[in-house]
Amino acid sequence: MLPSVRALERAMGYPAGNAPGYLTAVITEVFDELIAHEEIRAEYRIIDDIAIDTDAGTLTLQEVVLSPGLTVTVQIREAEKVALFVCTAGATVSDRSRCSTPDADLLKGYVYDVTGTIVVENAADMMLQELRRTMEAGGYGITNRFSPGYCGWDMAEQHKLFIFLRDNYGGVTLTESALMKPVKSVSGIIGIGRKVRFAPYSCSMCDDKNCLYRGRKT
């Protein structure tokens, strides 16, 4: 789940082989520490009782109405059920990415931060592939994954998702301001159905030029 040292250096902006030696040393140190704290988790829960209204941009799960908006509801419109998921890189990488104390090792904190972001995305992608294999065996397809805060879906709706992901689901809890703890976590939905198609993110429909998922092919 950890990226390679080179991949992490590239994520920080350095062309191949151009990172300062001390950075490579800190990355190696952080990776060694993280291997000792294997806390990555990814879980999903399937909800069968759903209704999708693309005109209203809503998704009703049992009796809870979510408003992910047009972009997401169009992508999942053929879904017969949805998987609600949570993935986390864990508390260690999340906590150590915090640099709020004056004596904090800022560089190490930054390495933890970037590593945590990559790890949780890798975990979510791996979970998606696992769900895909499981569903395909039963004749179902899956959509891409969608999270509150992206594709025009209000982040505050995360509270509605967590109605179905109670009791520290996946080791993740939600704050009042809709922030997940551990910080390096992602949650969201994936459409499942016999007619659904997996498609890359529809970035041309969205005006957020700095989105994490912009231009991703998978």
Binding site: Y14, G149, N210
Partner: protein
């Protein structure tokens, strides 16, 4: 320039914090910004001179290199940390009034966002440019920003957001602050923020990087 000031400037620019710091390797086992600043003060160089002739030019060079993609966040963090170690000795001179601040800058990451690396980096750069920093931390509510603005009249406020998901909270914070303090200058920044977004939410300035924030503040301090 005085040799000590030149050395302090080089230590800050290349991130040599103190004698124990093994980075950069070419300066290993040499005194860093922390020790050299103490030596400079002991030698009679004023805190103002150290700030104006060593720290500010060094951080300016760092900021410019970052803006040109010649260095990246890790090197900037090391430089900021080195500058911060130097500031440990400089701060008492602000308190005594011997050295004057350029103004007060209130900074915080907006509610719902716990990211602090970028915010800390900006705060350190701005402090190094001679400003007093009121760091409210992360996940800062609108009320906390209002309280700080009331306590520090004339201060400039900086809002940080790293998540696309918390940009809406930046909009709400800006709107509430502007309603309460129409003349308050608000600077915004963070990975997903753009100048278009800044304009849309009614903030005064978008800083694409820490140096941009420093440059903008220096125009206000004139």
């Amino acid at each position: 320039m005085n040799q000590l000031l030149e050395k302090i400037s080089a230590c800050v620019e290349f991130g040599k914090i103190d004698i124990k710091s093994p980075y950069p390797p070419s300066m290993k086992d040499q005194e860093g910004a922390f020790e050299l600043t103490r030596s400079a003060l002991d030698a009679g160089i004023s805190a103002g001179e150290i700030l104006e002739e060593a720290l500010i030019p060094a951080m300016s060079r760092v900021g410019q290199k970052f803006s040109r993609n010649e260095i990246f966040v890790p090197q900037m963090l090391m430089a900021a940390k080195a500058m911060s170690s130097s500031m440990t000795h400089i701060r008492p001179y602000y308190l005594s009034g011997e050295t004057r601040r350029k103004g007060t800058f209130i900074i915080g990451t907006v509610t719902g966002d716990l990211h602090d690396i970028g915010k800390n980096l900006v705060a350190m750069m701005i402090e190094g440019a001679g400003w007093e920093i009121i760091d409210l931390g992360v996940d800062v509510s609108v009320d906390e920003f209002i309280d700080a603005a009331e306590k520090h009249p004339g201060a400039i406020v900086g809002l940080s957001a790293l998540l696309t998901t918390t940009m809406e909270n930046m909009r709400k914070t800006t709107a509430t602050l502007k309603e309460k303090f129409p003349h308050l200058q608000i600077l915004v920044g963070g990975a997903p923020v753009t100048s278009e977004f800044c304009e849309k939410i009614g903030a005064d300035f978008y800083a694409p990087d820490p140096q941009g924030a420093v440059d903008y503040l220096s125009t206000l301090a004139q």
